[in-house]
Amino acid sequence: MKSLSSIESGSRSGKFSAFKNGMRDGIPIGLGYLGVSFSLGIAAKNAGLTAFQGFLTSALVKASAGQYAGFIVMAASAPYVEMIIVTFIANIRYSLMSFAMSQRMNPDTPWYHRLLMGDYITDEIFAISIARPGYLDPFYTYGAALVAIPSWAIGTALGIIAGNILPMRAVSALSVALYGMFLAIIIPPARDSKVLTGLILVCFASSFASSVLPWLSTLSEGSRTIILTISISSIVAVLFPRNWEGEGT
């Protein structure tokens, strides 16, 4: 985490070093994406997509569960309106992340950075962007996206072309790269805060419970993530309110 906190924005060299740091931190994301998008490609192939169509979908949509849900809609040849609803529900959590990011933007950031940065809000790129102290640096996000998104799109195309070539044990190993990254983001701040340590344990427990409980477990993973995020964050915000006075300056 030491390297994550070295931030000097504004100047041209600051932009460049933020971009470089973003690219570096984008590498584990890209590796994880390769494994996940490869298996997504297998689902895309079953829905009848060509490698090019899979590549295009991944490059434009950049959403794992959301794309998976979309491929199921395609496989069923469902009406377009169903695609709108499914995509909306499966991806609505990104609006929460976008909201959180809006509060960490430098007020002087021009609109085109907001339009571009928003497009790169994936669970992982959001996580590493917001884990840095101070204002968000668009160039850090661009650096990470430049590494991560192509590997997401290429992985999907590869999955469609060669779904059965990569050995299962390699896919299996790659598939935890993303979770390893999540842990690297949530654990270090929890070391110094009992509230955060407890919070993570509560999240693990309730997420596990919701995956086995009668009604909740029938919902999609995306819906469960939203329900748990909103309810747990609200409760903790009431019990342990925080001030951001030191942040973003």
């Binding site: 009848g48 609006s95 909201f99 390893g180 270090p188 919070l199």
Partner: protein, 104 residues
């Protein structure tokens, strides 16, 4: 197939883009409400924690290797390893433990 694949893709792309970009572009003010500030402070940790477990134990071929990867990741991150190292350690743990669980 009466539906066009490219129209499906276009719909997915437009809907997700709108979801991602609208809050970021429309909310330009700092919200001073303490509840909302605290809520947004906790959102990243909560989302990531919720998405990590139990998903990590279903991602691998065996839930044992997934669980070992979780422990490896927590310990490595606790000891201050970098993003990349933690990630790599988890992958390595799955690969090695699955070699033992499912020998070639």
């Amino acid at each position: 197939m009466t539906q066009n694949t490219y129209i499906y893709i276009l719909i997915m792309a437009l809907v997700t883009y709108a979801i991602r970009v609208l809050p970021l572009t429309l909310i330009k003010k700092r919200i001073n409400n303490q509840f909302i500030q605290s809520f947004l402070y906790y959102v990243p940790s909560v989302t990531l924690a919720v998405m990590t477990f139990p998903a990590i134990i279903h991602a691998t071929q065996s839930s044992i290797s997934g669980l070992l990867a979780l422990l490896t990741g927590v310990i490595a991150a606790w000891l201050g390893a970098s993003l990349f190292s933690v990630s790599l350690a988890c992958c390595a743990m799955v690969f090695i433990s699955e070699l033992l669980l499912f020998p070639l």
